[in-house]
């Protein structure tokens, strides 16, 4: 039985192999002649088969065997990659995925796909799956009195690490007490000609007839083909040694030829190993172990901050020196650990290429699916949680965004549509865009629908960007209604939830007739951020440093204000201001050195009036409990150097509060 950890390793490995397999198949769709990719596909299949069988997926193993046979035909040049082969192979991929997940699809599927794979590769029937175990040789008939076994070990037996004594011992074990072993010395050369590493002796072994022939053959399991071996049943009295079998020339010739070949290979081998510097050795680690390290690093960073606080109080030079070293090490460790968690988006791109392939098949729309920036790295958790929302959005772009070829032609667009997925880093965020060049969203239809659904009121003056976002609201519509509206919405509220759960945001821009862009902004990581510690009243709060644009002295005209909101002019632009002390209902009196911290998100800014700027710190983010998690103004909490808890302000929420104020101000001005 495999332990749970081994099962988990297998599961992860299978997942990676499947991803590689799918990726390979999709690449082959574009470049069918790439033999390196064919070899990769073959290897993935091969490993899935081998390990699958070892972990109890026998149906999978035998199916993959046939799948592999198809690609073996391609690999050996007997067949070529055709679009049909890729289509069948992708369906076969789905079957494997289902089997790996423990599903029990209709067994007829296996045969159907095996036949289709065979047909797609030159119509030849594939080799039937080999029986998982060697075929049983029937037991020796009861009347066999003895077995007369004669054998000569391969000449290089010693050289390759074989042990003839152990082999004879094993035969004695199999045969029991009555076993007779006699050496056959007829081929001994003269001493001068003798090579000390070669065994010239053969053996004759007489074994009881009750033993199965297989049990005897098992002893020679590795060498049967390379050695002289005869096993004869003896029915009467033990026969005298039979005539020597013809010495087989082949093994000798092989043995002689062998050294020449390795010598050549040995020279090339180190070069070959060096020639592939890109292949950094990979280590697969269960994600929860990395999480554990991350937790420890978080604790270390906190302990380090406490140490620094104490050292500063003591003003001991030597201690401060050590603290600096520890600070540097802790930061290095933090960065390395975070890097462990970073995964490129490419790890999930295979799924989207596949999706676009399937969508093209099912919708009959022709389009190019382009991916940009798939090397962009994100926290592993973020990448995983992003998969489903992206699937929804790409599906919707094709289903509802893109027009059919005729409609496109009629409106003067190229018949081939375009769906683009692009990713890039922007500060502490990753920006992901899903772009289509389809018909765009119909603002009026969405507005009408939103009013019907009670999401908007008739007279509400909501900007276009907000109207479009209504499609992301739960209960906006059913799929059918949305299609009729030429809008989107299948699972769109799921998208919104998932992105918000990742502390991300979604923006929609759309031009009628030109297409739609969904812009997702996500934080790089959910674990540790560089923070700016500020004081408001008696409490301290942390802000993500990367969102801080500027820190200003509070202008005099604002110093006396007591309302929660205000506005200042900054570089000829009006920026809404939040007085945090009022927003938080803190009754302590304002400091005389109030500052404004300008923070930005989504290209919008808001000023926060604070009582004090304390400094930067490593902010280890702790999630808030359900008791507080719905307070959107805080994204989490952190522990400070003195052991106190500080809340982390959610800049995106603060900025949207600021925008509301701005809207109101504009409203009153108008």
């Amino acid at each position: 039985m495999m332990d749970a950890e081994t099962q988990e390793i297998f599961r992860q490995e299978a997942e990676a192999l499947m991803e590689a397999l799918q990726e390979g198949l999709l690449v082959l769709k574009e470049t069918p002649d790439d033999l390196e990719v064919v070899a990769g596909v073959f290897r993935a299949l091969h490993t899935i088969k081998g390990t699958g069988a070892m972990f109890g997926f026998s149906r999978l193993a035998s199916f993959v065997h046939n799948f592999e046979a198809a690609f073996e035909a391609v690999r050996s040049g007997k067949s070529v990659v055709t679009p049909e082969l890729i289509n069948v192979a992708l369906t076969a991929y789905d079957l494997i995925a289902e089997l790996l997940e423990g599903g029990e699809p209709d067994p007829a599927k296996d045969e159907e796909l095996t036949a289709a794979l065979a047909a797609a590769t030159s119509g030849e029937a594939p080799a039937p799956a080999a029986a998982p175990t060697a075929s049983e040789v029937p037991a020796a008939p009861a009347e066999i009195k003895e077995w007369d076994l004669q054998f000569r070990l391969p000449p290089d037996f010693m050289e390759i690490g074989g042990n003839p004594i152990a082999m004879l011992d094993e035969l004695r074990e199999v045969g029991g007490e009555t076993t007779i072993v006699r050496p056959l010395t007829d081929r001994l050369p003269s001493i001068a000609q003798m090579d000390t590493k070669v065994i010239y002796t053969g053996w004759q072994v007489i074994l009881p007839g009750a033993i199965k022939e297989n049990a005897i053959r098992d002893v020679f399991m590795f060498h049967e083909d390379q050695m002289e071996l005869s096993i004869e049943p003896v029915h009467a009295a033990p026969a005298a040694p039979v005539a020597e079998p013809e010495p087989a020339a082949a093994p000798l010739a092989e043995a002689a030829a062998a050294p020449a070949e390795p010598a050549a290979t040995a020279k090339d081998a180190p070069k070959a190993a060096k020639a592939a510097p890109a292949a950094v050795a990979q280590l697969r680690v269960a994600a929860d172990r990395v999480d554990l390290i991350m937790d420890r690093v978080g604790e270390l960073v906190i302990a380090e901050a406490r140490l620094a606080a104490i050292a500063n109080q003591l003003e001991n030079e030597a201690l401060l020196g050590v603290v600096e070293d520890i600070q540097r090490l802790a930061l290095g460790l933090r960065d390395s650990t975070m890097a462990l968690r970073m995964t490129p988006l490419s790890s999930i791109m295979g799924r989207f290429r596949r999706l676009s392939h399937d969508l093209a098949e099912t919708t009959g729309k022709t389009f190019d699916f382009i991916v940009e920036g798939e090397e962009t790295e994100l926290d592993k958790t973020v990448v995983e949680k992003l998969t489903d929302p992206l699937v929804h959005m790409i599906r919707n772009s094709v289903d509802h965004g893109l027009e059919g070829p005729e409609d496109r032609a009629a409106s003067g667009k190229p018949e081939r549509g375009l769906v683009k997925l692009s990713a890039r880093h922007a500060g502490a965020e990753v920006v992901i865009e899903i772009i289509d060049d389809g018909r765009g969203m119909n603002e009026e239809a969405i507005r009408k629908r939103a009013i019907e659904r009670g999401l908007l009121t008739e007279d509400s003056d909501v900007p276009r960007s907000e109207v479009l976002k209504m499609v992301l609201e739960p209960g906006f519509s059913t799929a059918a209604a949305v299609t009729a509206l030429s809008g989107r919405g299948v699972g769109a509220d799921v998208v919104k939830q998932a992105i918000e759960a990742l502390n991300g945001t979604i923006e929609i821009t759309s031009e009628p007739g030109e297409g739609t862009v969904f812009t997702l902004r996500l934080p790089l990581t959910l674990a540790i951020i560089e923070g700016l510690l500020i004081g408001v009243g008696k409490e301290r709060y942390a802000l993500p440093l990367l969102s801080v644009e500027q820190i200003l002295e509070l202008p005099e005209e604002l110093a006396g204000g007591t309302s929660a909101t205000d506005v200042i002019e900054l570089n000829n632009e009006l920026v809404p201001v939040l007085r945090l002390r009022q927003v938080f209902n803190r009754d302590a009196s304002a400091s005389t050195h109030q500052k404004i911290v300008i923070v930005g998100a989504n290209d919008t800014r808001v000023g926060l009036v604070v009582d004090e700027i304390i400094g930067t710190n490593q902010t280890v983010i702790k999630q808030l409990s359900p008791l507080h998690s719905r307070l959107k103004i805080f994204s989490g909490a952190t522990i400070l150097g003195d052991g106190c808890v500080a809340l982390i302000l959610d800049v995106i929420h603060l900025v949207s509060l600021g925008q509301e104020i701005e809207q109101r101000l504009k409203g009153t001005a108008a």
Partner: protein, 166 residues
């Protein structure tokens, strides 16, 4: 953890923590109690309402602390030498949550005689509906046995107070 009901309560009465707030005696079965702490530095959470007393750091873990007194209409007494925090582990919507509850005084770990168990009178008490599992007697006084699961689930299902940006 499943929802504890009145009937489930009887076997749990042989070990309770007896404490006090707003002059009322209260008791909680110790199977939900993790520890009793002196009041550590408490970070208030603005805009979270008076049920939330704030956040504390317990050995590197940030825990929320609840103040039940406003819920029971009790006056807030400033923290003193006797103030304690009961760290309890409860389930909220099927998920485990560890949370602190402010107690003005903690008496002892005690045993309650199941025969003294009484349902909460429907009227004429200070206890809002659904906040107690039962009443009982201990040391010749009434003790209230709060319904921890229901208190927190009700509290969490309430809309959070909006940020007072106006």
């Amino acid at each position: 953890m499943t929802k504890k009901t009145y009937a489930d309560l009887i076997p749990r009465l042989n070990s309770v923590v007896a404490f006090e707030m707003g002059g009322e005696q209260m008791a909680l079965p110790t199977d939900v109690l993790r520890e009793v702490l002196e009041l550590p530095a408490l970070t208030p959470v603005p805009c979270a309402g008076d049920f939330s007393a704030g956040l504390i750091n317990i050995r590197g873990v940030v825990l929320p602390v609840a103040d039940w007194r406003p819920l029971f209409g009790m006056p807030l007494k400033a923290a003193d030498r006797e103030t304690r925090i009961l760290i309890i582990e409860t389930s909220v919507n099927e998920q485990t949550m560890t949370v602190g509850v402010i107690a003005e005084k903690v008496h002892a770990i005690a045993e309650i005689d199941p025969d003294t168990l009484r349902p909460v009178p429907a009227v004429g008490t200070r206890w809002p509906k659904g906040t107690l599992l039962a009443m009982a007697r201990w040391n010749d006084a009434f003790v209230a046995i709060p319904d921890v699961v229901s208190i927190f689930e009700n509290q969490i299902s309430q809309e959070p107070q909006l940020v007072g940006a106006d």
